[in-house]
């Protein structure tokens, strides 16, 4: 299977993050700092990460996971891992 492009990854990741956070996708821009969103904490971010790992059948490195701030960062580590 050819590797997914960043443009293909971003909408899926945005959709998963929106669902986990209980927000409409329109409120989530790729550069938005996820932990600055009201009601979002590190556990919710980790929940989104776990869902993404299941969706793509991948394991992200913990050191990457705990550094990431935005959907854009998520797309970067997914792209690197795929």
């Amino acid at each position: 299977m050819p590797a997914l492009t960043r443009d293909e990854i971003l909408p899926t990741v945005t959709e998963i993050v929106a669902k986990v956070f209980g927000l409409p996708t329109q409120e989530l821009s790729p550069e938005l700092d996820l932990r600055q969103i009201e009601g979002v904490d590190s556990v919710k971010v980790l929940r989104a990460v776990a869902t993404i790992e299941q969706r793509y059948d991948i394991e992200l490195e913990d050191e990457d996971v705990f550094k990431l701030k935005s959907i854009d960062d998520l797309a970067t580590v997914i792209e690197k891992t795929l």
Partner: protein, 174 residues
């Protein structure tokens, strides 16, 4: 596994080995988890509710015990689906939320071949279906001769286990 849902499925160890004491799934180990398994369209399911014997912080299930539940469910899926024993060579978990003592949970495992190894994945959810734990595991299958050596089986036990594994595959294999 077959595509049915929720049918009780027996792991082969109990019928094959008289002195089977697995901490995770033996009904004969009073100190163990005594996990039982059900068929699931994705693979294999275990439903569990743990008492304070398996506590970490007050009221919270110990993370190591949750790891065992995941490992057991993935490992026994290999046994039931592929008809062979396998040793865990890697295990990784994400704990998203603590599990409470006395609450009912479900662990569902899936499996795929990964070269000479098996790659298992599983998730633990609560009654409402909220995802609480995800896990992945890598498993090294072992042939009967090596299994016999590692498990210190007698000739009779080895033959009994071989028959039991073969029957499991016929009943549950893909």
């Amino acid at each position: 596994m077959t595509a049915t849902y929720g049918q009780a499925v027996e792991v082969p160890w109990a019928s094959a080995l008289a002195d089977y004491r697995c901490f995770g799934c033996s009904p004969h180990n009073p100190h163990g988890l005594q996990l039982t398994f059900l068929t699931h369209p994705d693979g294999l399911e275990s439903r569990f509710c743990l008492d304070r014997t398996f506590e970490s912080y007050p009221g919270v299930v110990h993370g190591g015990v949750i790891s065992t539940v995941c490992d057991e469910t993935m490992g026994n899926l290999i046994v039931l689906q592929e008809g062979r024993s396998a040793f865990t060579v890697g295990l990784r978990l994400r704990f998203l939320s603590p599990l409470a003592i006395g609450q009912q949970y479900r662990c569902v495992a899936k499996l795929r071949a990964d070269g000479d190894l098996y790659h298992g994945s599983c998730e633990v959810v609560d009654d409402a279906g909220v995802l609480l734990v995800t896990a992945t595991g890598m498993y090294q299958p072992v042939d009967m001769e090596r299994a016999r050596e590692h498990m210190h089986l007698t000739d009779q036990e080895s033959e009994s286990l071989r028959r039991s594994l073969s029957q499991s595959t016929q009943q549950n294999g893909a």
